[in-house]
Symmetry: C2
Subunit: 67 residues, 2 copies
DNA sequence: CTCCCAAGTGAAATAAATTGCACTTTTTGT
DNA sequence: ACAAAAAGTGCAATTTATTTCACTTGGGAG
């Protein structure tokens, strides 16, 4: 699952609107919308702001091989 | 530990120079340098390109509380 | 010490992210 | 069905990331 879907699912799970997420993160409503429909390439700072509001965290980990 | 340190450590662990990482990721040497010294706010696509070369992956997960 | 090679810095140009506004479409509740 | 709220779209303006070039610094090998 991609980042966009995770953000959208997590937001709705928490009962927040896009406007709420925009307000709490300090980002524009427009960019929240664009990100959720997968039409944006957000910066690390932008992603982090969103993650914080949603109780998520961005982790850079060693990729699991095989499987 | 922040992303910048992780990238730098992983790169040196793999025996790569900043130039190598730039070449393999298709990014400019300048942005690789800026990111590693923590003076950049890379986009998701940029981070992903770097992660791929280094055998890392970017994960958006639910934040662990307490501890 | 000197020569390289790798890493760090500055600044201008360009590409792209983010914003703001106006609008349409979809969803939800009554 | 209707109204209101939420979500999605287009575009111009602004801010910022990314590139390119030129240069400096630091560390290791000879």
């Amino acid at each position: 699952m991609d980042f966009y879907s995770i953000i959208k699912e997590r937001r709705t799970l928490l009962g927040l609107t896009q406007q709420d997420l925009a307000d709490y993160s300090g980002l524009s409503l427009r960019i929240i919308k664009s990100i959720e429909v997968g039409k944006a390439n957000p910066s690390l700072i932008t992603l982090t702001k969103i993650a914080e509001v949603l109780g998520l965290e961005l982790v850079l980990k060693i990729k699991e091989m095989n499987r």
